[in-house]
Symmetry: C2
Subunit: 459 residues, 2 copies
């Protein structure tokens, strides 16, 4: 649909709904809302509207639907695929004022949070109640719960707790018709119709605007222990990963790195190498749970074949140091210049062969390129970063994603499709599936105003 | 939509698709398919069609959509709410021939199973691979995976592993247009559009016909330990339940019983009472995991306030005996005559007050009634059984379900809506939500032939 300019009548209606202070249309202010945090995507927005309640969200959507004005819902604007940023003059619906956190409910260990609550604020509230929230990610100070629901955020502990969808006990959301759907009762068992939380989670703002979420919290582990494990090759690394997943009690995170990545991190940040003899692949494993975690970790690792060396950490400082080898990858790679970042998942059995194959593929295509492989290997998710090629060199991305799809993998493990990956969606979804998605979109957003051009090609 | 009789042309088309042996229309044979296993719901079916592949399912649906013939998908026919049984002459699509189980994939610990695979067969396959399937229920020898997906089956271990939806890594399903959607790649992270597995799970055959499921398997626990805990009242029972959920490592099941139910079971089956002094409420807790389960269970129970007595079991025979007190409730209650069985969930904080309240409500309404309360209390799910009232006395059901809804609960925790609970769905879903569900239904089943009259009032 074409983007109508913000007519006076609509502007007045919006001001009536949210108050004049919350309709922003000075380009010097709204510009920041129409640019993603990486700076890669920048456009313009007709106005930024900041509702303060679910009822205001509903009224805004009804007004926009009536005027045929496209709306981009926006949370903390930390997305990576241009799914929450107005690029073509759409209205931006900023949900950061919905930042209320209800008291943590201790019997069920759940909490209701507004869409605009940041992950960090939610984690503080959970922590104050002696509990923890299962999803964590680097953008925690800015990323909001609404955006994390809309994108089904993942992170480090998916292997243990699942992604955002698995934390979502209930949702309140507003359709573009103004109808409010979902509930926040916090029921763990409720078979009374289609499951809105699951459908809306990962729908990238194309079906409804999430206003509140009912979230499960998890017990805070009594103890943590972690280890870096040196292994000889990719196939062994994947085997070690599977063995850890299946036999380690309280497994909390399993990450994968290569000798090249660890070497780059050590060189860039001046860290000592983790092992006396550099390991071709390094598996990071963390366990967290009831007392005795270290003993259980040691017992499990002790019987896993293929581990050539280990570095263990229990105390927080030492654990933070071992995590640095993994977490500093992004920073170290950034110093090499702009990287192509491809966030893919492979089926478990295909991962071992994929790792060397993707490196060979890229260097065959672009001999000057360097390929950095790391990620949450416990769930098959690998970040394929490529440096040393032009920023706009889409051929590299296409080649990698085509290989991923051929090997049965996902072209977007965590980040979603947004607009950035729209051209590759056909690699994972058949025309029949895209048609079915469009039908669901039309059913719930008949006006077609919610995030047009995001997630669905031509939709 | 009206039910068209099975015209000759459609019959010939179906015979061409699945072969003459798999189009059954002799009423002496089809009668069993049109009657649920409780005998409470019985009707008639124009024919039973038994496709042998996904392609045959698609062709059958296209033929039926073209002829405007309603289709009831059916698995093991163990449902309790008349959601999978033809009552008004619809065609029955029996999926039991889709009974192939692919080899268990050990790296990801996943398996692909056809819709017609029984739960027992799936569990045997998992067990042979040294793994376990997380959902278990009494109808395991007959209930099929397709039906369990369509109804989002729950069971004893939801508190630990979640319901069927949480086991579903992927799904293959056929729309009434003949389009096949979903995938069986087994990816744990895949943010590339609307999540078919979650949407179809619990949709009771109204959106699509599930033909195959990709399921996660779980490690087989090394040890089990369980205990019955005697507590003085409902509020304490709920408090003990919450404490166990939050602090017991490897918690595997938490069930609740009352003195009346335990007494009935003991009297009926000749079991010795579990405690020297009868306990008003009994909490059953089971833990299962790495070695040391009993010690961790004892340590946790030892510091929980409100436990007056305990009976512990570790060995399989002794555990089976303690489980009898809980599992024999259904059998013991059945001997009292037909029971009204209401399967509800309350929010955690509301459960303690609800238990005495619902008993008082029913006995005030029907002084001759007896109320039996038991269930999977760890997730707020209570089975409210009422005996001593007429089978058709809907006023009792209505009163209980209205109280449940007032207290923020679900009128159907596990069983679904089907046709049996259609009249009460408005207690849990707003007109806006029902309209949104109907819109989704129309989007994916434009011909309206899939399970009309099930789940959606007037739909």
């Amino acid at each position: 649909m074409p983007f109508a300019p913000l007519a006076d009548a609509l502007r007045r209606a919006l001001v009536d709904i949210v108050g004049p202070a919350h309709v922003l249309d000075d380009p010097s202010i709204t510009g920041g809302f129409a640019r993603d945090w990486t700076g890669r995507f920048a456009g313009s927005t007709a106005a930024v509207v900041r509702p303060g309640s679910t009822a205001e969200v509903a009224a805004v959507l009804v007004a926009c639907a009536g005027a045929g004005v496209a709306v981009v819902p926006q949370g903390g604007n930390t997305g990576l695929v241009a799914g929450g940023v107005a690029l073509g003059g759409e209205l931006t619906l900023s949900l950061t004022r919905l930042d209320h956190i209800a008291p943590v409910e201790p019997v069920s260990a759940q909490v209701t949070a507004g869409a605009g609550v940041t992950l960090a604020a939610l984690r503080r509230a959970a922590s104050a109640a002696g509990l923890d929230f299962a999803v964590d990610l680097a953008a925690r100070d800015t990323a909001t719960i609404g955006g994390m629901v809309a994108t089904n955020a993942g992170g480090l502990h998916v292997i243990r707790y699942g992604p955002m969808r698995a934390q979502l006990v209930g949702v309140e959301a507003v359709l573009s018709t103004g109808a409010v759907i979902g509930d926040l009762r916090g029921l763990l068992k409720d078979n009374t119709g289609y499951h809105w939380p699951s459908l809306l989670c990962g729908s990238e703002g194309t079906l409804a605007v999430v206003t509140r979420a009912r979230l499960r919290l998890v017990p805070r582990p009594a103890e943590h222990a972690m280890a870096l494990l040196a292994v000889a090759d990719a196939a062994t690394a994947v085997g070690v990963t599977a063995a850890l997943r299946h036999s380690l009690p309280d497994v909390h995170a399993i990450e994968l790195m290569t000798a090249a990545g660890v070497g780059l991190v050590c060189d860039t940040l001046g860290l000592p190498p983790p092992f006396a003899r550099p390991a071709p692949f390094v598996v990071l494993v963390e366990a967290a749970g009831a007392p005795g975690v270290l003993e259980r970790l040691a017992a499990t690792v002790g019987v896993i074949a293929g581990v050539d060396d280990t570095a263990v950490a229990v105390e927080p400082d030492r654990r933070a140091m071992l995590w640095r080898y993994r977490e500093a990858h992004t920073e170290a790679i950034a110093r090499l210049g702009p990287a192509h970042k491809l966030d893919v998942t492979l089926p478990g059995p295909a991962l071992g062969a994929f790792l060397p194959e993707v490196s060979e593929l890229v260097t065959r295509l672009r001999p000057e390129a360097r390929v950095w492989l790391f990620g949450h290997a416990g769930d098959g998710n690998v970040h394929v970063n490529v440096t040393g090629v032009e920023a706009g060199d889409d051929e590299v991305d296409a080649a990698v994603l085509e290989l991923v799809a051929e090997r049965g993998g996902s072209i977007s493990a965590e980040h979603g499709i947004g607009r950035a990956k729209l051209a590759f969606l056909h690699l994972n979804r058949t025309p029949d599936e895209l048609a079915a998605m469009r039908a669901v979109k039309r059913a719930l957003d008949p006006a077609g105003i919610l995030n047009p051009g995001v997630l669905l090609p031509g939709g």
